[in-house]
Symmetry: C2
Subunit: 210 residues, 2 copies
């Protein structure tokens, strides 16, 4: 058992690595933005989560910017109100990880990391052409979490770009068929197996396999 | 392309299924709580996410409770301030899914779904004995998101229960070796493959495999 005392006695890097592993498997998403000077930015995040379906909302966490650091993605979202989420496949994982490096403001991670910008009609933010699942999002809520000065950004889903073959008749997406990866911590990317689906759960009997 | 109009024209069940698939692979966690009458509760969530490592914080989303519905987990967390997160393995997936059924308040999902309660010293909330990764959490922040009346619950990590073999020297956890699953949408559970880890990213060269 690791209690508070043991956790906060760890070397800082070990604590960061451990705590980032604790939520389990996480989504891996490339966030595409642009600034007022038309400079594009791309950054990998693994803190994105479902907020609601009606209206359709997705959230993410962006770390605070202590004095002297820059948060290009946050600044661009607050300036333009628009951003894209692009799911990451196995073939994209190494390049996606590279976007977490500290590139200077005038250097686009699209070019530096080897991704192709894609533009969709009526949308100011760039998408990642290599991604099989792209979302166009509009800023819907921005909160500063008092507990650690982290930014919570919630976006409404305006566009969904996904190939028809990956969508099942019931509305669900077959993410495994798109070779999308699951993340762990800050540095680990995993393909998934086919998996199991279960029927809507009712109290009186165990759910069945679909 | 699915735009806003197409999204909101979908049958409600299809829209819920689609939107829940959009974030990508998600953590699957059983939340253990207890109420003032010592009745235990267990509920599966897939909206948990990393908030920060220092202090160590994890967040989750709990849906609003329209008139007439009950949110046992939320009520218990607000009453006792303590709750547990328990990672879900492949062997636990069907039973974990079953906890999403609407059980009455006086029926514990531990018993109804076939999980074993485990108690750790100095902690009021129950843990899931079958889970290889258990976290004891203390309520740190509770926000109502105005965008859709959803509850954001952030907890500080007080205890971590995990076997030593699954923790690497650098602090990271090997979740794949524990057979923990990744979720999609509301009904899909996937084992993951071994995966790839990359070195800390720097601008001047692509990250390398660890």
């Amino acid at each position: 058992m690791i209690d508070r005392r043991a956790l906060y006695s760890l070397d800082k890097r070990q604590r960061v690595a451990l705590v980032n592993s604790l939520p389990g498997f996480k989504p891996v998403v490339l966030v595409g933005t642009v600034n007022a000077d038309s400079l594009t930015n791309l950054c990998v995040i693994n803190s994105c989560f479902h907020v609601g379906a009606d209206p359709a909302l997705i959230g993410m966490i962006i770390r605070p910017a202590p004095q002297g650091t820059e948060r290009h993605t946050l600044e661009n979202i607050l300036a333009t109100k628009m951003y894209s989420f692009n799911a990451v496949t196995r073939a994209m994982a190494q390049r996606a990880h590279h976007t977490s490096a500290r590139f200077s403001r005038d250097r686009s991670e699209f070019d530096a990391c080897g991704f192709t910008k894609q533009w969709h009609e009526d949308f100011v933010a760039p998408f990642v052409s290599e991604s099989p699942l792209q979302l166009g999002l509009k800023l819907a809520e921005h909160l500063l979490l008092t507990v650690n000065d982290t930014h919570l950004i919630i976006g409404s889903i305006e566009h969904i770009h996904v190939c028809d073959q990956s969508q099942r008749d019931d509305g669900t997406l077959d993410l495994q068929s798109m070779d999308i990866v699951a993340g762990v911590g800050l540095d680990s990317y995993h393909a998934v197996t086919k998996g199991q689906r279960f029927t809507y759960a009712k109290p009186d009997k165990p759910p069945e396999l679909i």
